[in-house]
Symmetry: C2
Subunit: 425 residues, 2 copies
Amino acid sequence: MAPSALPAEQETVAELTNNGIELNVSKTAPSISKAVTPEVPQLAELDASRLEVNLTTSPRPVPGIGSPEMASQKTCTDHMITATWTAESGWGAPQLKPYGPFSLMPTSSVLHYATECFEGMKLYRGYDGKLRLFRPNLNCNRMLMSTNRIALPAFPPTELQKLIMALCAQDGAKWLPKDRPGHFLYIRPTMIGTDSALGVQRPTEAMLFILLTCFAPMDDIPGGMRLLASQDDMIRAWPGGFGYAKVGANYGPSLVAQGEARRLGYHQILWLFGEECVVTEAGASNFFVVWRTREGALQLVTADLKERIVLDGVTRRSVLEFAREKLTQGYKGLEKVEVVERRFVMQEVVEAAEEGRLVEAFGAGTAWFIAPVGHVHFRGRDFEVPMVEGECGRYTKVVKEALRGVMYGEKGYEGHEWGVVVEEK
Amino acid sequence: MAPSALPAEQETVAELTNNGIELNVSKTAPSISKAVTPEVPQLAELDASRLEVNLTTSPRPVPGIGSPEMASQKTCTDHMITATWTAESGWGAPQLKPYGPFSLMPTSSVLHYATECFEGMKLYRGYDGKLRLFRPNLNCNRMLMSTNRIALPAFPPTELQKLIMALCAQDGAKWLPKDRPGHFLYIRPTMIGTDSALGVQRPTEAMLFILLTCFAPMDDIPGGMRLLASQDDMIRAWPGGFGYAKVGANYGPSLVAQGEARRLGYHQILWLFGEECVVTEAGASNFFVVWRTREGALQLVTADLKERIVLDGVTRRSVLEFAREKLTQGYKGLEKVEVVERRFVMQEVVEAAEEGRLVEAFGAGTAWFIAPVGHVHFRGRDFEVPMVEGECGRYTKVVKEALRGVMYGEKGYEGHEWGVVVEEK
């Protein structure tokens, strides 16, 4: 097999090193240079204004709140959006069409080589009657970072956001009606390699798709989330790997440990890294603790992003920004906290628990939202995490209330810049 | 979300630790205990004797040797085999049916969470007119190890081998005719999670499929394979990860580096690990060097499997076994070599090259077979690997000849136990 040059449009995103993979918007098809270099084909960019709409003739019923269909996580709304890409011609016109199965060749890249990445977002029905997204630009930027990491094509994140909003506008009114304030639909933008050549190589064909799915809330767990710390012979991510990207390859390999945790009565794995047991993530969520140092300082602590083994979560980032703005100043009568992003190890958490200095812990992510942690098992030892205020720590509670406030347009948060209103059809 | 016990059949394969994931044949549905515990459903085992055959009515032409279709790696034979599994009922009857697209729900686990693994094998047309597989039991055992690691269902490896042989028997005579001795078809057994629930969890539905694909040989590269050593911020695998398993999650994340290598004129990445630059794999192949130590010993060296970051390749294993049996004794007039499996680092290779002690290097895997390496680029430095005997080192050549001999039933190898004859229809 002779070495072959890649199509020109890939060179703008292909970088040998992780450090080179950043939020570079595709530089393909720059309009200013059109027809200057006729040898290089002008590739079509992903363009939400080209959306073609084909509505379903078989609308389906919306599952009731608390119904088995809602809990199954299998029910999608009436429509989805798809867009296909080829290395030769770039992005085709996006399609809004009836939700239904894909036809994929058995040799498709995604089925063999995990050329896939996704985002997790929610569409919120506000108490003010409006539909909102929560900081969707962050998800769309991260999706581009993930496609770069997994050798899938680039796109302008703003176009992805427009497509997401178009699908939410189409199906939101029916599937998340105004009489369901405080509820949400789960949004799943995904990109897969559809190249049907079986060779191990960058896909020359890909598909973007966006789904809206019915999900039940997962953040209200009686007694809090129970975490099982990972063993040192099973790690989630490593430096130089892809733990920071939302690629399928981070999830499948975690399911054996996660399944075993569930079998043993835990909700999620608390993923540790290395001999020192560096604390990284809780299941598919970021992990926060509130502890008091031996010197007496109260701190909100989460893993930093330096080694790139932790996802740069939108909820994580929002917790940190909120806490830095409000909790460091004293908020609603609570003692001031320091906000700390750093590498921390399990031994620190254990010692804080044993010495009565562990105040709270919670997972933070889109799917689980802010989920209080009540219990951790680590290498043969169990310890409880305090759960004041009924089912939730005090700091966990105010963080959760603030983010919920923005998401659901509650009083005092209606015009918050993190909430992006969707005009529904 | 309440913790939920897993279906009983999964408990036999779900292990929290990597060390627990070994070649355990599924212990489901043991006939001896049938009806003893009626609460536990008896799950159907994968059973090749239940194969249902539905032949194509639209047979396709076979691409010519050297044709673009052959090189495209997109052309499969007339038929494929599929078998579906559910957590409730186990394995359905396998189907031999016309090759064609799959219908998959957009929420399918494999498209989001990389619940997928595969094997790479070849069907060889011998110079004695027979069709052969090469040590297929090793691939089928490894496939089970991979399904265990990626949370897919277990199966008896012998049944998988029977299914592979059934497909080869069906399509071999037409797609690999007797006038093509020395040629092969590529065999791709794959398993994917087809569960349509979007939650991050072990799939409760899965599909096994087996394809036969036309591939051009990749081992005859003028001047040998050119390798680009990986940078330390892009690591293929890590202890506690899954580098030893043939899961999709090892491949997609490697494609950016591999694409960049090709763009720069290299064939594959030489994957290094850690600050010491431990040498692990060459692209998707194992990597061997022949060098002379400063003490004067001639050695054939490859990475050991202890840290589980290297694939236990069938070709790798066969090279080692052949070399230990023959090359250590002196073979065809060649100087005796020591066969060494150990952790070795790039600096050792560089020093051997600089001091004139590097004798040969080659990649070893099913797709690339035994591919001589002619050139390596490592951190700004280039060095050539000797290529005696025209395009191939002397030891590379005898290893390659011996394995080819078994694969293609050449004189002196006709009855070798590594070659499994397929009776064609």
